[in-house]
Protein backbone atom coordinates (compact mmCIF):
# COMPACT_ATOMS: atom_id res chain seq x y z
CA UNK A 1 0.00 0.00 0.00
CA UNK A 2 3.04 2.24 0.29
CA UNK A 3 3.98 2.59 -3.35
CA UNK A 4 1.42 3.36 -6.00
CA UNK A 5 1.91 0.83 -8.72
CA UNK A 6 -0.47 -0.16 -11.47
CA UNK A 7 -2.77 -2.83 -10.12
CA UNK A 8 -4.68 -3.24 -13.34
CA UNK A 9 -2.77 -2.94 -16.61
CA UNK A 10 -4.43 -3.00 -20.00
CA UNK A 11 -2.08 -2.78 -22.97
CA UNK A 12 -3.06 -2.57 -26.62
CA UNK A 13 -6.20 -4.62 -26.18
CA UNK A 14 -8.19 -5.37 -29.31
CA UNK A 15 -11.39 -7.32 -29.66
CA UNK A 16 -13.68 -7.85 -32.61
CA UNK A 17 -17.00 -9.61 -32.95
CA UNK A 18 -17.30 -10.69 -36.54
CA UNK A 19 -16.61 -7.57 -38.57
CA UNK A 20 -17.39 -5.19 -35.71
CA UNK A 21 -14.37 -3.94 -33.87
CA UNK A 22 -15.40 -3.38 -30.27
CA UNK A 23 -11.94 -2.48 -28.94
CA UNK A 24 -9.32 -0.98 -31.22
CA UNK A 25 -6.22 -0.90 -29.04
CA UNK A 26 -7.02 0.19 -25.50
CA UNK A 27 -4.38 1.14 -22.91
CA UNK A 28 -5.46 1.78 -19.34
CA UNK A 29 -3.80 1.60 -15.94
CA UNK A 30 -5.34 1.63 -12.48
CA UNK A 31 -3.19 2.16 -9.40
CA UNK A 32 -3.82 0.24 -6.24
CA UNK A 33 -6.58 1.64 -4.08
CA UNK A 34 -7.80 4.09 -6.72
CA UNK A 35 -10.89 4.33 -8.87
CA UNK A 36 -10.86 4.44 -12.62
CA UNK A 37 -14.05 5.57 -14.30
CA UNK A 38 -14.47 4.33 -17.82
CA UNK A 39 -16.74 6.88 -19.39
CA UNK A 40 -18.46 6.38 -22.69
CA UNK A 41 -21.69 6.13 -24.57
CA UNK A 42 -23.64 2.96 -25.32
CA UNK A 43 -21.67 0.80 -27.69
CA UNK A 44 -18.36 2.59 -27.06
CA UNK A 45 -16.71 -0.67 -25.96
CA UNK A 46 -16.97 -0.32 -22.17
CA UNK A 47 -18.73 -3.60 -21.55
CA UNK A 48 -16.35 -5.53 -23.79
CA UNK A 49 -13.36 -4.24 -21.85
CA UNK A 50 -15.01 -5.03 -18.53
CA UNK A 51 -15.84 -8.56 -19.67
CA UNK A 52 -12.21 -9.09 -20.62
CA UNK A 53 -11.10 -7.89 -17.18
CA UNK A 54 -13.61 -10.20 -15.52
CA UNK A 55 -12.10 -13.16 -17.45
CA UNK A 56 -15.35 -13.69 -19.35
CA UNK A 57 -13.84 -12.89 -22.72
CA UNK A 58 -10.35 -13.28 -24.15
CA UNK A 59 -8.86 -10.35 -26.08
CA UNK A 60 -7.81 -10.88 -29.71
CA UNK A 61 -4.61 -8.93 -29.11
CA UNK A 62 -2.89 -7.11 -26.27
CA UNK A 63 -2.25 -7.91 -22.64
CA UNK A 64 -4.34 -7.52 -19.50
CA UNK A 65 -2.98 -8.02 -16.02
CA UNK A 66 -4.58 -7.79 -12.61
CA UNK A 67 -2.16 -7.78 -9.66
CA UNK A 68 0.53 -8.90 -12.07
CA UNK A 69 -1.49 -11.91 -13.21
CA UNK A 70 -2.42 -12.37 -16.84
CA UNK A 71 -6.22 -12.57 -17.05
CA UNK A 72 -6.14 -15.17 -19.80
CA UNK A 73 -3.36 -17.49 -18.72
CA UNK A 74 -3.98 -17.23 -15.00
CA UNK A 75 -7.71 -16.69 -15.17
CA UNK A 76 -8.50 -18.94 -12.25
CA UNK A 77 -6.17 -17.09 -9.92
CA UNK A 78 -7.51 -13.75 -11.13
CA UNK A 79 -11.06 -14.88 -10.39
CA UNK A 80 -10.13 -15.43 -6.75
CA UNK A 81 -9.00 -11.80 -6.52
CA UNK A 82 -11.79 -9.97 -8.28
CA UNK A 83 -15.41 -9.18 -7.65
CA UNK A 84 -17.59 -8.55 -10.67
CA UNK A 85 -20.94 -6.80 -10.85
CA UNK A 86 -22.36 -6.90 -14.36
CA UNK A 87 -24.81 -4.60 -16.05
CA UNK A 88 -27.86 -6.48 -14.82
CA UNK A 89 -28.65 -7.42 -11.27
CA UNK A 90 -27.59 -11.04 -11.70
CA UNK A 91 -29.44 -12.49 -8.74
CA UNK A 92 -31.95 -15.32 -8.55
CA UNK A 93 -35.42 -13.99 -7.91
CA UNK A 94 -36.80 -17.20 -6.49
CA UNK A 95 -34.04 -17.43 -3.91
CA UNK A 96 -33.79 -15.26 -0.82
CA UNK A 97 -31.11 -12.60 -0.47
CA UNK A 98 -29.22 -14.77 1.98
CA UNK A 99 -29.39 -17.82 -0.30
CA UNK A 100 -28.05 -15.80 -3.21
CA UNK A 101 -25.00 -14.62 -1.25
CA UNK A 102 -24.48 -18.00 0.34
CA UNK A 103 -24.36 -19.58 -3.12
CA UNK A 104 -21.71 -17.12 -4.29
CA UNK A 105 -19.65 -17.77 -1.16
CA UNK A 106 -19.73 -21.50 -1.80
CA UNK A 107 -18.62 -20.91 -5.38
CA UNK A 108 -15.63 -18.96 -4.07
CA UNK A 109 -14.77 -22.23 -2.35
CA UNK A 110 -15.77 -21.17 1.17
CA UNK A 111 -17.06 -23.86 3.51
CA UNK A 112 -20.74 -23.68 4.43
CA UNK A 113 -20.13 -22.02 7.82
CA UNK A 114 -17.80 -19.38 6.44
CA UNK A 115 -20.08 -18.78 3.44
CA UNK A 116 -23.01 -18.14 5.77
CA UNK A 117 -20.90 -15.84 7.92
CA UNK A 118 -19.80 -13.79 4.91
CA UNK A 119 -23.37 -13.60 3.66
CA UNK A 120 -24.50 -12.20 7.01
CA UNK A 121 -21.64 -9.73 7.01
CA UNK A 122 -22.47 -8.45 3.54
CA UNK A 123 -26.20 -8.30 4.24
CA UNK A 124 -25.56 -6.17 7.27
CA UNK A 125 -23.20 -3.90 5.40
CA UNK A 126 -25.75 -3.25 2.72
CA UNK A 127 -28.62 -2.82 5.20
CA UNK A 128 -30.39 -5.85 3.78
CA UNK A 129 -30.50 -7.88 6.99
CA UNK A 130 -34.22 -7.33 7.54
CA UNK A 131 -34.97 -8.51 3.98
CA UNK A 132 -32.40 -11.32 4.06
CA UNK A 133 -34.90 -14.15 4.19
CA UNK A 134 -37.32 -12.73 1.68
CA UNK A 135 -37.25 -13.86 -1.92
CA UNK A 136 -35.45 -11.40 -4.18
CA UNK A 137 -38.54 -11.28 -6.40
CA UNK A 138 -40.11 -9.02 -3.77
CA UNK A 139 -37.12 -6.63 -3.62
CA UNK A 140 -37.15 -3.15 -5.12
CA UNK A 141 -34.79 -2.33 -7.98
CA UNK A 142 -32.40 -0.58 -5.62
CA UNK A 143 -32.35 -3.51 -3.19
CA UNK A 144 -31.58 -5.90 -6.04
CA UNK A 145 -28.69 -3.76 -7.16
CA UNK A 146 -27.35 -3.63 -3.63
CA UNK A 147 -27.63 -7.39 -3.34
CA UNK A 148 -25.87 -7.80 -6.67
CA UNK A 149 -23.09 -5.54 -5.48
CA UNK A 150 -23.06 -7.54 -2.25
CA UNK A 151 -22.56 -10.73 -4.23
CA UNK A 152 -19.40 -9.28 -5.72
CA UNK A 153 -18.11 -8.52 -2.20
CA UNK A 154 -18.58 -11.98 -0.69
CA UNK A 155 -15.12 -13.06 -1.79
CA UNK A 156 -13.54 -9.92 -0.23
CA UNK A 157 -12.06 -8.93 -3.58
CA UNK A 158 -8.94 -6.81 -3.97
CA UNK A 159 -10.31 -5.49 -7.22
CA UNK A 160 -13.92 -4.63 -7.95
CA UNK A 161 -15.13 -4.43 -11.53
CA UNK A 162 -18.50 -2.82 -12.03
CA UNK A 163 -20.36 -2.35 -15.28
CA UNK A 164 -22.72 0.63 -15.06
CA UNK A 165 -23.55 0.07 -11.40
CA UNK A 166 -26.30 2.69 -11.17
CA UNK A 167 -27.93 2.57 -14.59
CA UNK A 168 -31.69 2.56 -14.23
CA UNK A 169 -31.72 3.54 -10.56
CA UNK A 170 -33.66 6.44 -9.12
CA UNK A 171 -31.54 9.40 -7.92
CA UNK A 172 -31.88 8.60 -4.24
CA UNK A 173 -30.80 5.00 -4.64
CA UNK A 174 -27.97 6.12 -6.87
CA UNK A 175 -26.59 8.42 -4.20
CA UNK A 176 -26.94 5.63 -1.62
CA UNK A 177 -24.91 3.33 -3.80
CA UNK A 178 -22.28 6.00 -4.42
CA UNK A 179 -21.81 6.50 -0.70
CA UNK A 180 -21.35 2.81 -0.30
CA UNK A 181 -18.84 2.54 -3.13
CA UNK A 182 -16.87 5.44 -1.66
CA UNK A 183 -16.70 3.57 1.63
CA UNK A 184 -15.29 0.50 -0.09
CA UNK A 185 -12.66 2.57 -1.82
CA UNK A 186 -11.64 4.19 1.46
CA UNK A 187 -10.94 0.69 2.74
CA UNK A 188 -8.47 0.15 -0.06
CA UNK A 189 -10.42 -1.68 -2.76
CA UNK A 190 -9.21 -0.93 -6.27
CA UNK A 191 -12.18 -0.17 -8.46
CA UNK A 192 -12.81 0.01 -12.15
CA UNK A 193 -16.28 1.09 -13.10
CA UNK A 194 -17.95 2.01 -16.33
CA UNK A 195 -20.58 4.67 -16.55
CA UNK A 196 -22.54 6.81 -18.93
CA UNK A 197 -23.11 9.37 -16.21
CA UNK A 198 -20.59 12.15 -16.07
CA UNK A 199 -21.71 13.09 -12.62
CA UNK A 200 -20.97 9.57 -11.43
CA UNK A 201 -17.47 9.54 -12.87
CA UNK A 202 -16.82 13.00 -11.45
CA UNK A 203 -17.87 11.97 -7.97
CA UNK A 204 -16.35 8.50 -7.73
CA UNK A 205 -13.34 8.36 -10.00
CA UNK A 206 -9.77 9.44 -9.26
CA UNK A 207 -9.02 9.08 -12.92
CA UNK A 208 -11.29 8.99 -15.91
CA UNK A 209 -10.72 7.36 -19.27
CA UNK A 210 -13.11 8.50 -21.96
CA UNK A 211 -13.74 5.67 -24.37
CA UNK A 212 -15.25 6.13 -27.80
CA UNK A 213 -15.43 3.62 -30.67
CA UNK A 214 -13.12 1.18 -28.93
CA UNK A 215 -10.37 3.69 -28.14
CA UNK A 216 -9.44 5.77 -25.13
CA UNK A 217 -9.71 9.29 -26.50
CA UNK A 218 -8.80 11.09 -23.29
CA UNK A 219 -7.58 10.18 -19.83
CA UNK A 220 -6.78 12.05 -16.66
CA UNK A 221 -8.22 13.21 -13.37
CA UNK A 222 -11.65 14.83 -13.59
CA UNK A 223 -10.00 18.24 -13.02
CA UNK A 224 -7.33 17.57 -15.65
CA UNK A 225 -9.92 16.74 -18.20
CA UNK A 226 -12.00 19.76 -17.42
CA UNK A 227 -8.96 22.00 -17.68
CA UNK A 228 -7.53 20.38 -20.77
CA UNK A 229 -10.67 20.17 -22.80
CA UNK A 230 -13.25 22.35 -21.19
CA UNK A 231 -11.66 25.72 -20.53
CA UNK A 232 -14.13 28.04 -18.83
CA UNK A 233 -17.69 28.49 -20.01
CA UNK A 234 -20.01 31.41 -20.14
CA UNK A 235 -23.50 30.27 -19.30
CA UNK A 236 -26.74 32.11 -20.07
CA UNK A 237 -30.13 31.02 -18.81
CA UNK A 238 -32.99 32.37 -20.89
CA UNK A 239 -36.25 33.45 -19.31
CA UNK A 240 -38.20 31.85 -22.11
CA UNK A 241 -37.18 28.61 -23.85
CA UNK A 242 -38.27 30.21 -27.13
CA UNK A 243 -35.18 32.41 -26.96
CA UNK A 244 -32.65 29.59 -26.66
CA UNK A 245 -32.10 29.19 -30.39
CA UNK A 246 -31.81 32.95 -30.80
CA UNK A 247 -29.17 33.09 -28.08
CA UNK A 248 -27.18 30.37 -29.80
CA UNK A 249 -27.12 32.38 -33.02
CA UNK A 250 -26.33 35.55 -31.13
CA UNK A 251 -23.36 34.16 -29.22
CA UNK A 252 -21.84 32.27 -32.14
CA UNK A 253 -18.29 33.38 -32.81
CA UNK A 254 -17.75 35.04 -29.42
CA UNK A 255 -16.15 32.10 -27.62
CA UNK A 256 -13.39 29.65 -28.36
CA UNK A 257 -15.92 27.18 -29.77
CA UNK A 258 -19.55 26.97 -30.89
CA UNK A 259 -22.26 27.64 -28.31
CA UNK A 260 -24.19 24.63 -27.04
CA UNK A 261 -27.89 24.73 -26.23
CA UNK A 262 -29.59 22.79 -23.48
CA UNK A 263 -33.23 23.16 -24.41
CA UNK A 264 -34.65 21.53 -21.32
CA UNK A 265 -32.62 23.68 -18.97
CA UNK A 266 -33.20 26.77 -21.19
CA UNK A 267 -29.44 27.29 -21.07
CA UNK A 268 -26.77 28.13 -23.57
CA UNK A 269 -23.12 27.45 -22.76
CA UNK A 270 -20.19 29.02 -24.57
CA UNK A 271 -16.61 27.78 -24.17
CA UNK A 272 -14.07 30.53 -23.72
CA UNK A 273 -10.42 31.11 -23.04
CA UNK A 274 -10.81 34.78 -22.08
CA UNK A 275 -13.48 34.68 -19.45
CA UNK A 276 -14.11 38.35 -18.69
CA UNK A 277 -13.85 39.54 -22.26
CA UNK A 278 -16.31 36.94 -23.52
CA UNK A 279 -18.69 37.57 -20.64
CA UNK A 280 -18.82 41.31 -21.31
CA UNK A 281 -19.21 40.82 -25.05
CA UNK A 282 -22.02 38.35 -24.50
CA UNK A 283 -23.74 40.70 -22.05
CA UNK A 284 -23.59 43.57 -24.54
CA UNK A 285 -25.05 41.52 -27.37
CA UNK A 286 -27.84 40.15 -25.22
CA UNK A 287 -28.75 43.61 -24.03
CA UNK A 288 -28.71 45.04 -27.57
CA UNK A 289 -30.94 42.20 -28.81
CA UNK A 290 -33.29 42.77 -25.89
CA UNK A 291 -33.53 39.12 -24.88
CA UNK A 292 -34.68 38.52 -21.31
CA UNK A 293 -32.31 36.31 -19.32
CA UNK A 294 -32.50 35.01 -15.76
CA UNK A 295 -28.83 34.38 -15.28
CA UNK A 296 -25.51 35.10 -16.90
CA UNK A 297 -22.08 34.11 -15.62
CA UNK A 298 -18.76 32.37 -16.02
CA UNK A 299 -18.20 28.99 -14.47
CA UNK A 300 -15.73 26.11 -14.46
CA UNK A 301 -16.72 23.49 -17.05
CA UNK A 302 -18.62 20.39 -16.03
CA UNK A 303 -17.81 16.96 -17.34
CA UNK A 304 -20.78 17.36 -19.63
CA UNK A 305 -18.92 20.11 -21.40
CA UNK A 306 -15.82 17.94 -21.59
CA UNK A 307 -17.71 15.01 -22.96
CA UNK A 308 -19.47 17.09 -25.56
CA UNK A 309 -16.27 18.71 -26.72
CA UNK A 310 -14.62 15.28 -27.04
CA UNK A 311 -17.46 13.53 -28.79
CA UNK A 312 -19.09 16.11 -31.04
CA UNK A 313 -22.64 15.24 -31.89
CA UNK A 314 -23.03 17.80 -34.66
CA UNK A 315 -20.89 19.27 -37.39
CA UNK A 316 -18.53 22.00 -36.16
CA UNK A 317 -19.53 24.52 -38.87
CA UNK A 318 -23.04 24.78 -37.58
CA UNK A 319 -23.77 25.99 -34.03
CA UNK A 320 -24.36 22.75 -32.19
CA UNK A 321 -27.76 22.25 -30.65
CA UNK A 322 -26.83 19.36 -28.42
CA UNK A 323 -29.17 18.03 -25.85
CA UNK A 324 -27.38 17.63 -22.59
CA UNK A 325 -28.45 14.92 -20.26
CA UNK A 326 -28.72 16.53 -16.89
Amino acid sequence: MTANYPFITVEGVEKSFGSTQALAGVDVEVEEGTVLGLLGRNGAGKTTLVRILATLLAPDAGRVQIAGLDVVRRARMVRSLIGFAGQFAAVDETLTGRENLDLVGRLYGLGSTLARQRADEVLQRLSLTSAADRRVGSYSGGMRRRLDLGASLVGRPLVLIMDEPTTGLDPRTRIELWTFIEELVREGTTLLLTTQYLEEADRLADRIAVIERGRVIAAGSPDDLKQRFGGDVVEVRATSSADVERLVALLDGLGSGPPLADLRGQRVTLPTSERVHTLLAAARRIEEAGIAVDDLGVRRPSLDDVFLSLTPQSTPERPAVARLTA
Binding site: A3, T55, G68, A90
Partner: protein, 272 residues
Protein backbone atom coordinates in the same frame (compact mmCIF):
# COMPACT_ATOMS: atom_id res chain seq x y z
CA UNK B 1 10.34 -4.45 -7.03
CA UNK B 2 6.83 -4.39 -8.31
CA UNK B 3 6.94 -8.10 -9.09
CA UNK B 4 7.76 -8.89 -5.48
CA UNK B 5 4.72 -6.94 -4.37
CA UNK B 6 2.53 -8.80 -6.83
CA UNK B 7 3.76 -12.18 -5.64
CA UNK B 8 3.04 -11.10 -2.13
CA UNK B 9 -0.48 -10.21 -3.19
CA UNK B 10 -0.98 -13.56 -4.84
CA UNK B 11 0.27 -15.59 -1.90
CA UNK B 12 -1.53 -13.49 0.67
CA UNK B 13 -4.79 -14.65 -0.86
CA UNK B 14 -5.94 -18.21 -0.73
CA UNK B 15 -6.39 -18.99 -4.37
CA UNK B 16 -9.00 -21.64 -4.78
CA UNK B 17 -7.44 -24.92 -5.88
CA UNK B 18 -8.84 -26.58 -8.95
CA UNK B 19 -9.49 -30.28 -9.03
CA UNK B 20 -12.03 -33.00 -8.52
CA UNK B 21 -13.03 -31.78 -5.07
CA UNK B 22 -13.98 -28.28 -6.18
CA UNK B 23 -15.70 -29.72 -9.23
CA UNK B 24 -17.87 -31.98 -7.07
CA UNK B 25 -18.56 -29.23 -4.55
CA UNK B 26 -19.50 -26.70 -7.26
CA UNK B 27 -21.68 -29.26 -9.04
CA UNK B 28 -23.47 -30.06 -5.79
CA UNK B 29 -24.00 -26.43 -4.81
CA UNK B 30 -25.25 -25.45 -8.28
CA UNK B 31 -27.49 -28.50 -8.72
CA UNK B 32 -29.12 -27.62 -5.42
CA UNK B 33 -29.58 -24.05 -6.63
CA UNK B 34 -31.19 -25.23 -9.88
CA UNK B 35 -33.53 -27.61 -8.09
CA UNK B 36 -34.49 -25.01 -5.50
CA UNK B 37 -35.46 -22.64 -8.30
CA UNK B 38 -37.54 -25.32 -10.02
CA UNK B 39 -39.20 -26.26 -6.79
CA UNK B 40 -40.11 -22.67 -6.02
CA UNK B 41 -41.51 -22.06 -9.49
CA UNK B 42 -44.81 -23.94 -9.30
CA UNK B 43 -45.47 -23.30 -13.00
CA UNK B 44 -42.43 -25.40 -13.84
CA UNK B 45 -43.37 -28.32 -11.62
CA UNK B 46 -46.96 -28.32 -12.84
CA UNK B 47 -46.09 -27.68 -16.48
CA UNK B 48 -43.64 -30.59 -16.46
CA UNK B 49 -46.45 -32.88 -15.40
CA UNK B 50 -49.52 -31.48 -17.08
CA UNK B 51 -48.58 -32.10 -20.74
CA UNK B 52 -47.77 -35.79 -20.37
CA UNK B 53 -50.86 -36.32 -18.23
CA UNK B 54 -53.00 -34.79 -20.97
CA UNK B 55 -51.35 -37.06 -23.52
CA UNK B 56 -52.02 -40.12 -21.36
CA UNK B 57 -55.68 -39.22 -20.99
CA UNK B 58 -56.06 -38.23 -24.65
CA UNK B 59 -54.54 -41.39 -26.07
CA UNK B 60 -55.89 -43.72 -23.42
CA UNK B 61 -59.51 -42.60 -23.60
CA UNK B 62 -60.05 -40.55 -26.78
CA UNK B 63 -57.92 -42.13 -29.52
CA UNK B 64 -56.91 -45.35 -27.79
CA UNK B 65 -60.13 -47.20 -28.56
CA UNK B 66 -59.48 -47.13 -32.28
CA UNK B 67 -55.73 -47.84 -32.18
CA UNK B 68 -54.81 -51.50 -32.33
CA UNK B 69 -51.23 -52.63 -32.19
CA UNK B 70 -50.35 -56.24 -32.96
CA UNK B 71 -49.01 -58.03 -29.88
CA UNK B 72 -50.64 -55.61 -27.43
CA UNK B 73 -54.13 -56.70 -26.42
CA UNK B 74 -54.33 -53.65 -24.18
CA UNK B 75 -53.28 -50.38 -25.89
CA UNK B 76 -52.36 -48.72 -22.60
CA UNK B 77 -49.43 -51.15 -22.20
CA UNK B 78 -48.15 -49.94 -25.57
CA UNK B 79 -48.87 -46.28 -24.81
CA UNK B 80 -47.19 -45.68 -21.44
CA UNK B 81 -43.61 -46.58 -22.49
CA UNK B 82 -44.08 -44.15 -25.41
CA UNK B 83 -45.27 -41.43 -23.04
CA UNK B 84 -42.32 -42.02 -20.72
CA UNK B 85 -39.80 -41.44 -23.50
CA UNK B 86 -41.78 -38.48 -24.81
CA UNK B 87 -41.60 -37.02 -21.30
CA UNK B 88 -37.84 -37.58 -21.22
CA UNK B 89 -37.47 -35.51 -24.35
CA UNK B 90 -39.92 -32.75 -23.42
CA UNK B 91 -38.39 -32.62 -19.96
CA UNK B 92 -34.92 -32.21 -21.43
CA UNK B 93 -36.10 -29.25 -23.49
CA UNK B 94 -36.54 -27.23 -20.30
CA UNK B 95 -32.73 -27.30 -20.05
CA UNK B 96 -32.59 -25.10 -23.14
CA UNK B 97 -34.91 -22.57 -21.54
CA UNK B 98 -33.10 -22.49 -18.19
CA UNK B 99 -29.69 -22.13 -19.84
CA UNK B 100 -30.94 -19.27 -22.00
CA UNK B 101 -32.53 -17.60 -18.99
CA UNK B 102 -29.35 -17.70 -16.89
CA UNK B 103 -27.38 -16.34 -19.82
CA UNK B 104 -29.72 -13.47 -20.56
CA UNK B 105 -30.06 -12.47 -16.90
CA UNK B 106 -26.30 -12.26 -16.41
CA UNK B 107 -26.30 -15.04 -13.81
CA UNK B 108 -24.02 -17.14 -16.00
CA UNK B 109 -21.57 -14.24 -16.24
CA UNK B 110 -21.49 -14.01 -12.48
CA UNK B 111 -20.82 -17.74 -12.07
CA UNK B 112 -18.12 -17.64 -14.71
CA UNK B 113 -16.39 -14.69 -13.04
CA UNK B 114 -16.05 -16.69 -9.82
CA UNK B 115 -13.32 -19.28 -9.22
CA UNK B 116 -15.90 -21.92 -10.13
CA UNK B 117 -15.17 -25.00 -12.17
CA UNK B 118 -16.85 -23.97 -15.39
CA UNK B 119 -17.71 -27.55 -16.31
CA UNK B 120 -19.66 -27.77 -13.08
CA UNK B 121 -22.09 -25.09 -14.23
CA UNK B 122 -23.39 -27.13 -17.16
CA UNK B 123 -23.12 -30.44 -15.34
CA UNK B 124 -25.27 -29.06 -12.53
CA UNK B 125 -27.81 -27.87 -15.07
CA UNK B 126 -28.21 -31.33 -16.60
CA UNK B 127 -28.14 -33.13 -13.25
CA UNK B 128 -30.95 -30.95 -11.91
CA UNK B 129 -32.90 -31.72 -15.05
CA UNK B 130 -32.29 -35.43 -14.53
CA UNK B 131 -33.78 -35.17 -11.04
CA UNK B 132 -36.77 -33.34 -12.47
CA UNK B 133 -37.10 -35.91 -15.21
CA UNK B 134 -37.03 -38.78 -12.74
CA UNK B 135 -39.89 -37.13 -10.86
CA UNK B 136 -41.96 -36.75 -14.05
CA UNK B 137 -41.26 -40.29 -15.20
CA UNK B 138 -42.29 -41.57 -11.76
CA UNK B 139 -45.45 -39.53 -12.02
CA UNK B 140 -46.18 -40.95 -15.49
CA UNK B 141 -45.79 -44.50 -14.26
CA UNK B 142 -48.15 -43.71 -11.39
CA UNK B 143 -50.75 -42.20 -13.72
CA UNK B 144 -50.25 -45.14 -16.09
CA UNK B 145 -50.94 -47.63 -13.33
CA UNK B 146 -54.11 -45.71 -12.47
CA UNK B 147 -55.42 -45.94 -16.04
CA UNK B 148 -54.69 -49.63 -16.42
CA UNK B 149 -51.03 -49.91 -17.41
CA UNK B 150 -49.20 -52.98 -16.07
CA UNK B 151 -45.62 -54.25 -16.15
CA UNK B 152 -45.47 -57.72 -17.69
CA UNK B 153 -41.89 -58.55 -16.88
CA UNK B 154 -39.71 -59.09 -13.82
CA UNK B 155 -38.30 -56.22 -11.80
CA UNK B 156 -34.77 -56.16 -13.20
CA UNK B 157 -35.61 -55.68 -16.88
CA UNK B 158 -38.30 -53.15 -15.90
CA UNK B 159 -35.78 -51.08 -13.93
CA UNK B 160 -33.27 -51.50 -16.77
CA UNK B 161 -35.84 -50.15 -19.23
CA UNK B 162 -36.58 -47.10 -17.08
CA UNK B 163 -32.87 -46.55 -16.66
CA UNK B 164 -32.40 -46.57 -20.42
CA UNK B 165 -35.16 -43.98 -20.82
CA UNK B 166 -33.64 -41.73 -18.14
CA UNK B 167 -30.19 -42.07 -19.66
CA UNK B 168 -31.58 -41.00 -23.01
CA UNK B 169 -33.31 -38.04 -21.36
CA UNK B 170 -30.05 -37.08 -19.67
CA UNK B 171 -28.10 -37.23 -22.94
CA UNK B 172 -30.79 -35.11 -24.58
CA UNK B 173 -30.63 -32.47 -21.86
CA UNK B 174 -27.00 -31.89 -22.90
CA UNK B 175 -28.26 -31.44 -26.43
CA UNK B 176 -30.83 -28.91 -25.21
CA UNK B 177 -28.20 -27.22 -23.06
CA UNK B 178 -26.19 -26.72 -26.22
CA UNK B 179 -29.26 -25.32 -27.99
CA UNK B 180 -29.83 -22.90 -25.10
CA UNK B 181 -26.20 -21.73 -25.34
CA UNK B 182 -26.59 -21.16 -29.06
CA UNK B 183 -29.86 -19.21 -29.06
CA UNK B 184 -29.35 -17.39 -25.70
CA UNK B 185 -32.89 -16.09 -25.48
CA UNK B 186 -35.76 -17.65 -23.61
CA UNK B 187 -38.46 -17.32 -26.26
CA UNK B 188 -36.22 -18.61 -29.05
CA UNK B 189 -35.08 -21.48 -26.85
CA UNK B 190 -38.69 -22.52 -26.22
CA UNK B 191 -39.43 -22.45 -29.92
CA UNK B 192 -36.28 -24.25 -31.06
CA UNK B 193 -36.72 -26.94 -28.42
CA UNK B 194 -40.27 -27.51 -29.62
CA UNK B 195 -39.27 -27.66 -33.28
CA UNK B 196 -36.56 -30.21 -32.50
CA UNK B 197 -38.68 -32.35 -30.20
CA UNK B 198 -41.89 -32.49 -32.17
CA UNK B 199 -40.82 -34.60 -35.18
CA UNK B 200 -38.69 -36.85 -33.01
CA UNK B 201 -41.60 -37.63 -30.72
CA UNK B 202 -44.36 -37.95 -33.32
CA UNK B 203 -42.49 -39.56 -36.22
CA UNK B 204 -41.70 -42.48 -33.96
CA UNK B 205 -43.32 -45.52 -32.42
CA UNK B 206 -44.58 -43.34 -29.57
CA UNK B 207 -48.33 -43.69 -30.12
CA UNK B 208 -48.64 -46.35 -32.79
CA UNK B 209 -46.58 -48.99 -34.54
CA UNK B 210 -44.50 -47.61 -37.38
CA UNK B 211 -45.67 -50.23 -39.96
CA UNK B 212 -48.74 -48.21 -40.97
CA UNK B 213 -46.65 -45.15 -41.86
CA UNK B 214 -45.73 -44.38 -45.49
CA UNK B 215 -42.38 -45.91 -46.45
CA UNK B 216 -40.31 -42.68 -46.28
CA UNK B 217 -41.65 -41.79 -42.87
CA UNK B 218 -41.28 -45.34 -41.61
CA UNK B 219 -37.63 -45.35 -42.61
CA UNK B 220 -37.01 -42.18 -40.63
CA UNK B 221 -39.11 -43.33 -37.68
CA UNK B 222 -37.37 -46.68 -37.38
CA UNK B 223 -33.91 -45.19 -37.68
CA UNK B 224 -34.21 -42.39 -35.14
CA UNK B 225 -33.32 -42.78 -31.48
CA UNK B 226 -36.74 -42.13 -29.94
CA UNK B 227 -38.19 -45.23 -31.60
CA UNK B 228 -35.20 -47.27 -30.49
CA UNK B 229 -35.51 -46.16 -26.88
CA UNK B 230 -39.27 -46.71 -26.82
CA UNK B 231 -38.91 -50.16 -28.37
CA UNK B 232 -36.29 -51.06 -25.79
CA UNK B 233 -38.47 -49.81 -22.94
CA UNK B 234 -41.51 -51.68 -24.30
CA UNK B 235 -39.64 -54.92 -24.75
CA UNK B 236 -38.16 -54.68 -21.26
CA UNK B 237 -41.35 -53.69 -19.44
CA UNK B 238 -43.75 -55.89 -21.41
CA UNK B 239 -41.57 -58.90 -22.21
CA UNK B 240 -42.62 -58.63 -25.85
CA UNK B 241 -39.97 -59.95 -28.21
CA UNK B 242 -36.21 -59.59 -27.97
CA UNK B 243 -34.93 -56.36 -26.41
CA UNK B 244 -31.34 -56.97 -27.43
CA UNK B 245 -31.04 -54.81 -30.56
CA UNK B 246 -33.19 -51.95 -29.33
CA UNK B 247 -31.25 -51.79 -26.05
CA UNK B 248 -27.90 -51.70 -27.82
CA UNK B 249 -29.08 -49.04 -30.25
CA UNK B 250 -30.54 -46.95 -27.43
CA UNK B 251 -27.35 -47.08 -25.41
CA UNK B 252 -25.28 -46.24 -28.46
CA UNK B 253 -27.50 -43.28 -29.35
CA UNK B 254 -27.50 -41.97 -25.78
CA UNK B 255 -23.73 -42.31 -25.48
CA UNK B 256 -23.23 -40.67 -28.87
CA UNK B 257 -25.56 -37.75 -28.14
CA UNK B 258 -24.01 -37.28 -24.70
CA UNK B 259 -20.40 -37.27 -25.88
CA UNK B 260 -20.98 -34.97 -28.85
CA UNK B 261 -23.39 -32.55 -27.14
CA UNK B 262 -21.39 -32.33 -23.90
CA UNK B 263 -18.13 -31.73 -25.76
CA UNK B 264 -19.53 -29.07 -28.05
CA UNK B 265 -21.53 -27.41 -25.26
CA UNK B 266 -18.51 -27.24 -22.95
CA UNK B 267 -16.39 -25.78 -25.70
CA UNK B 268 -19.10 -23.31 -26.62
CA UNK B 269 -19.52 -22.33 -22.98
CA UNK B 270 -15.98 -20.97 -22.85
CA UNK B 271 -16.94 -18.31 -25.37
CA UNK B 272 -20.46 -17.26 -24.41
Amino acid sequence: MTTATFDEVATRRTVRPSGVRSFLSDTFVLTRRNLLISLRTPQLVVAAAIMPVMFVLLFRYVFGGSIHVAGYPSYVDFLIPGIIVQTSLFGGSSSAVSVAEDLSKGVTDRFRSLPTQRGAILTARTLADLVRLTYTVGLMIGIGLLVGFRFHNSLLPVLGGIGIALLFGYACSWLFTLLGLLVRNVEAATLVAFVVTFPLVFAASTFTATDTMPAWLRTFANAQPVTQVIDALRALTQGTGSAHDAVLHSLAWSAGIFVVAATVATRRFRRV
